[in-house]
Symmetry: C2
Subunit: 452 residues, 2 copies
């Protein structure tokens, strides 16, 4: 018999995300009888995802039920778990903000788009605190680092941020030709800013294998024609960061350095991006990002076909095995006291990542069981890495978190003034003025007391 829980997905219109969760839930007998509330403001996509969920569940003969709503507060009623995957305004708003950034001199845009996101996060978190205060909030939409820290400071919720980036060590193992079952890894830091503190192959330190690869094979790897269309983990930039600071940056870390104070120099223009991330200039270049959007769109088309064509099976796209997504296994660990170790983003209580405030959400390993989540503390990160990468990243995050928490225009402006591309106060102020004037930022402008 399973333990039935009520899971609410905010931003459920993302077919791939929602179907992944539903599939994981369907193949997890421990959670049989559970109910999923799909919530999104896009009715068309919501209806589609509901059909998808029901098809998947039927194909898998699972005991999971579904409902949908566009009303967030209704959705939260009696929820045990709330997954927040919502992207404010979707890809369109992201791209429009990026374009505005470029107009004001910021190639590929700035981190301003984090503010509408964090504004929504706070709204959701406050609703949860009122409607289902004992629920776990599982945050997967970005910015996980700043957003979770902000919500932790402003509410009493149980907050857990999750991300896939930490699996990047497997890509290193793959390129080095190591058998993955013998590879172990530990990482810690902040989300999208994690470092490989321990890397072993068959129990032995595997860093020397990486060093040898850099010496003997890296140039050939970077030169080869069938280079992955985006490459972060084994890019020239990742290796250069390793050589600068002494530990490998994992997952999103080597790409996130973009205009975050450390690593901006890999991203000054497309040519520089191509030099450091291969022919497409990495995931975040105009070329890499377009590929990503195309791929996403192809995937959505595939899903749509599978749902609408009765002759196709949804399980061909979502095979009936637990994915690498940690969400459902963690829920199972929590409600059924099945202890497991996961990669989590949780408040830094007791100084899990040493040298940073307790009210910051850090990324680390976490032991999850019926009593909750306990972060696993490691040795302090090396002094060099802390001074060169962790402090600068933390300092920028603090400015962003506090700008949103206080609704303070000058801190928001400071976030921009810290961007390496900003050339003058006038530039930053002009950009902010136009950004706030967009009707989609109307609520945000009120928070920051901007009166156009």
């Amino acid at each position: 018999m399973g333990t039935s829980v009520k899971i609410c997905i905010i931003g459920a219109g993302s077919a791939q995300f929602s179907a992944g969760i539903v599939r994981d839930l369907c193949v997890n007998p421990g959670l049989a009888g559970s109910h999923v509330v799909l919530m999104d403001i896009d009715e068309r996509r919501l209806e589609f995802v509901l059909q998808l969920a029901e098809r998947l569940s039927a194909e898998l003969q699972a005991n999971v039920s579904f409902s949908k709503t566009t009303d967030r507060q209704k959705a939260l009623k009696d929820a045990d778990f709330v997954l927040n995957t919502a992207q404010v305004g979707g890809h369109q708003w992201s791209e429009d903000q990026r374009k505005l950034g470029e107009k004001h001199g910021y190639y590929r845009g700035t981190k301003l788009h984090n503010f509408p996101q964090m504004h929504l996060f706070l709204d959701v978190a406050r609703d949860i605190e009122r409607i289902c205060p004992n629920a776990w909030l599982i945050q997967s939409a970005n910015p996980v680092f700043e957003g979770c820290s902000l919500m932790h400071r402003e509410t009493k919720l149980n907050i857990l941020g999750l991300c896939h980036g930490h699996y990047g060590y497997l890509e290193i193992a793959n390129v080095l030709g190591l058998e993955p079952q013998y590879v172990t890894a530990k990482t810690q830091g902040f989300n999208h800013w994690i470092w490989l503190t321990d890397f072993r192959y068959k129990g032995e330190d595997a860093y020397p294998l990486l060093d040898e690869w850099i010496q003997t094979k890296a140039e050939a790897y970077w030169a080869k024609a069938d280079f992955e269309f985006w490459d972060n983990q084994m890019s020239r930039a990742a290796i250069h960061l390793y050589q600068m600071f002494g530990l490998m940056p994992i997952g999103d870390t080597p790409r996130t350095c973009e205009n975050l104070g450390v690593g901006w120099w890999y991203h000054t223009d497309l040519t520089e991006k191509q030099r450091w991330y291969g022919s497409l200039g990495g995931f975040d270049s105009e070329l890499g990002w377009q590929k990503y959007l195309d791929r996403l769109s192809d995937k959505v088309d595939d899903i749509e076909r599978a749902v609408t064509d009765a002759s196709l099976k949804v399980t061909d796209i979502f095979p009936p095995v637990q994915s690498k997504e940690q969400i459902v296994p963690i829920i199972n660990s929590l409600v059924n006291n099945v202890e497991g170790i996961y990669q989590v983003n949780i408040p830094n209580r007791g100084g899990i990542v040493k040298g940073f405030p307790e009210n910051l959400v850090v990324e680390c390993q976490g032991v999850v069981n019926g009593s909750g989540i306990r972060g696993v503390s490691q040795e302090p990160l090396p002094a060099k890495l802390v001074a060169g990468t962790m402090n600068p990243r933390w300092s920028q995050a603090e400015c962003m978190i506090e700008a949103m928490r206080l609704g303070d225009y000058h801190l928001l402006l400071s976030c921009l003034l810290m961007d390496q591309r900003t050339r003058s106060l006038t530039q930053a102020e002009g950009y902010l003025r136009e950004w706030f004037a967009d009707p989609r930022n109307e609520q945000l402008a009120k928070v920051f007391r901007i009166h156009p």
Copy 2:
């Protein structure tokens, strides 16, 4: 009867500094019988300063004796207090480094010149640890913040950093037309990065008086023709920083923001400097700095005349009253247990400035008496100020301190990459290469394992 102490001045060739200390010592009966060792590597200037000191002492009929040496280790023998005021390579090396910075795209140079300074500081500190480990090291040469933090991390010495900047509140009082004897002020932060946390006139909060001045009189002040040839404390930049972050920046703070992550936007070129600091563009512009050097040179000429012309009196230039310089009064407080409150830079033990590491040297009020120096803790600085100014400044200082402590090239490079004017990795690396190739950096290049 006074308590005789042995005071060693490193870099004693600075006539103005040394004579100021000697004068203060001569007028302080509590330290009668003391001996001052003047140490410098410039024999000519050293001889001159010795004559100056003896003239002053004779005119004041003081019981203070002097000796000179170019041998630092001899100078330190049995010292009770070591004053470090040395500037490596003097103004010439500073100007040459600045020129090199400008060649590589950094208007008015960068903070690289802090490294030769910190390298010397460490040498001196290690000598003291060996030769006179119980002495107090009083650091007045810059960078006081990074340098004292570095020495504190690397030695067990009693370290005290001193600076005049905190008196800046008197300039505010003066411009506001307040009678100085009724004005009190508290500041805290890091050296050259302190903020006016408490400002009172006749016991009442005086910030409203400042706000009124800004509303009604500031524009006229900034526009007036007889504007001070450099102005930091009441400059447009200082007021703008106050408006951004909520507290007044004091003393060197509104000028030091130059290329330190916060405030770079006031310093992009001479025109911008003039807009924010008046017609000469402030103390650090090419115009303001030349005035400063000229003034210094005039002062030295005056002193030289007074020493060499028997018909003149040195006490006309250094009148026989205790100056505002805290060094001698603090020595008196320490050795004669005369309790006083001073503005000090000391290790942040117990978190005097809250939210920053204990191994950082912070600026605060300190109670000084026969037992030593106890920092006075204040309320935490406002969250906005911390996020917008203190964290970024701290993060940059950490990178500089740790770069020097570890002798790490990549952290040194990171300090440059954090400079807002850096446009590419190539630019920063090229600049560093040429800087290290200067013969005056030969020892430093070894520390950083640079092999040209």
